[in-house]
């Protein structure tokens, strides 16, 4: 693979994570458990979509097919999407959404923190501003993980269930292939393997504080979102998200 394509593919992964997760969170808008939380979830969704936008814009600089950001979002087939499986999972209840988000927020904070030292000036300055958002998101979701874990019996059971379903999906954050290794060795993007242990330790501490049990099963090696092998959930997301744009090919909005 030529460098341009490697760079494009590597950035696409992180843009897709944020697009798909931002889309999922936006499904809560108008349906939150309180007005305050409705606003907070939309805030996170807006930040993630904003981060996706910047990363997409960076990625297309080396897209050999010269696609626009909206072409990538609205006219790419499911097999071309490169997000981790975790972010395409349905929202479920508030506990599921919060836990999924917390796992991503910790990863995002570590990733952005490390991205600040990218050799690419645009990416490093993006990382500096996005890191502030990620720290804020993590503080918010962490406080909810603790509140739900150590709240009532019902809330504890709900978020405990989310832990056992979502924890095994988290390994995908750190799984690496040739693309990741090459962009890392060039100093473009962080080496995610480096912060796998930090992620695990921090998450374990939060689970402890939230009086939650560590899950029995911690990894599912079957999932390959980074290779475009998705669950049916992403198909549903795309058929909804792309429906209007695809009904009017060539139109501008």
């Amino acid at each position: 693979m030529v460098w341009e394509e490697l760079r494009f593919q590597a950035l696409l992964r992180h843009a897709d994570d944020r697009l798909v997760l931002g889309h999922r969170l936006s499904e809560w808008c108008g349906h939150g458990p309180t007005l305050e939380e409705d606003i907070a979830l939309s805030n996170v969704a807006l930040d993630l979509l904003g981060q996706a936008k910047v990363i997409f814009e960076q990625s297309i600089k080396t897209d050999l097919k010269k696609r626009s950001v909206d072409d990538l979002i609205y006219f790419r087939e499911i097999r071309g999407y490169r997000n981790v499986i975790l972010v395409e999972q349905p929202n479920g209840d508030f506990a599921c959404t919060i836990l999924r988000q917390y796992f991503f927020d910790v990863f995002n904070r570590l990733w952005l923190n490390s991205l600040q030292s990218s050799i690419d000036k645009d990416l490093s300055s993006f990382a500096r501003s996005a890191l502030k958002e990620a720290i804020y998101h993590e503080r918010h979701t962490k406080s909810w993980v603790v509140r739900l874990g150590d709240g009532t019996k019902e809330s504890n059971e709900r978020i405990q269930e989310a832990v056992s379903v979502f924890y095994p999906l988290s390994y995908e954050f750190f799984a690496q292939d040739e693309i990741d290794q090459k962009v890392f060795s060039k100093g473009l993007l962080p080496n995610t393997a480096c912060f796998e242990n930090v992620w695990k330790e921090e998450v374990a501490l939060t689970l402890l504080e939230a009086t939650l049990q560590f899950p029995k099963r911690t990894s599912t090696q079957m999932l390959r979102g980074r290779e475009g092998r998705h669950t049916e959930h992403l198909d549903r997301i795309l058929s909804e998200m792309q429906s209007l744009a695809r009904a009017h090919p060539g139109a501008s909005w």
């Binding site: 108008g30 309180t34 209007l244 139109a251 909005w253």
Partner: protein
């Protein structure tokens, strides 16, 4: 002070355009009417999130997705701000919400219409937010301080929403023939319901004269409706869209645009709960509110645990 002299004092303050603040004496009817109005307004902001929220996941470009989500989020903020204003009058948010969910409180009739195309997102921003802005601009001068101040803040955002909606309409109107048809169809469906947003004609408006006397409302329903029509007609022209009112004419003496007759039967059946989406809107709010009860319960329980822990720590010191 006797009741009569308090009343006299209150009326004097209204006459001098002084603002009434939460801790000031006010007639209990003034308080009740304000709680009714402000909570209806808050409910409208929150229920109003639903028709547009319906399109966030299908917005046709990333830019539109982000701006629509931000817009609907703004409405949640308006709701929160307004519930806060109602609380300054001694009402409780939980009670107000329960009245809405129990079907005992009203919200704007407009949100009982379905939003079925992207054109509806444009037209809601352009017309519905603009109608809200006309109403709220008047309310910035309202005699109750907290309500007037909430309106100043909210109006700024509604103006932004209106501009965003007009821009969506302008792009559709200048787009493909299918997009143009989408824009015109949306205008055809939303024009009359928007005119009804200002409420029944003055001769049938039950609360109007009292509210105007207290300077809670500064203009009548028909005056506000006229103000809106005069704004919207030239905008439709600029957008190259046709307002679905064959009788619409300009009065050459006053310069006002005069609409044809409004179908008030339709308005009354919406208020009686027979609109196309009345049931769904309340059902959706009920699902979110009752479905979120365990979350609010957990937050309360956790807070309680923390309080107890702190108290224990203090004792052991």
């Amino acid at each position: 002070m006797t009741e009569a002299s308090r009343q006299f004092d209150f009326e004097g303050r209204i006459a001098r355009d002084e603002k009434i603040e939460p801790n000031d004496w006010m007639p209990s009817r003034y308080r009740r009417q304000l709680v009714r109005m402000i909570s209806q307004h808050a409910h409208s902001e929150v229920v109003g999130m639903l028709p547009e929220g319906n399109w966030i996941t299908r917005a046709p470009s990333l830019r539109r997705k982000i701006s629509l989500l931000a817009k609907v989020q703004d409405e949640a903020g308006h709701g929160l701000y307004l519930y806060g204003a109602a609380e300054t009058l001694g009402a409780e948010r939980e009670d107000l919400i329960n009245r809405l969910l129990g079907g005992d409180a009203r919200y704007s009739s407009i949100f009982n219409y379905p939003s079925v195309t992207w054109g509806d997102v444009g037209v809601i921003g352009w017309l519905v937010d603009q109608a809200a802005m006309v109403n709220q601009t008047m309310l910035t001068k309202c005699s109750y301080g907290p309500y007037a101040r909430a309106m100043i803040q909210i109006c700024k955002e509604e103006n932004f929403h209106k501009r965003q909606g007009m821009e969506i309409m302008a792009v559709l109107s200048a787009g493909t023939s299918a997009q143009r048809a989408m824009a015109q169809d949306a205008l055809d469906r939303w024009w009359w319901p928007t005119l009804m947003m200002f409420g029944p004609p003055d001769e049938e408006s039950p609360h109007s004269s009292e509210l105007i006397g207290w300077k809670v409302k500064m203009k009548s329903n028909d005056e506000l409706r006229q103000w809106f029509v005069d704004l919207a007609v030239p905008q439709a022209e600029a957008l190259d869209l046709q307002i679905p009112d064959p009788e619409l004419v300009r009065d050459s003496k006053t310069g006002h645009w005069i609409s044809g007759p409004i179908n008030w039967d339709e308005f009354r059946s919406i208020l009686e709960g027979e609109g196309p989406c009345n049931r769904e809107r309340i059902e959706s709010r009920r699902e979110s509110h009752f479905g979120g009860a365990w979350v609010r319960e957990a937050a309360r329980a956790y807070e309680e645990k923390c309080r107890k822990k702190k108290a224990l720590e203090r004792e052991s010191l």
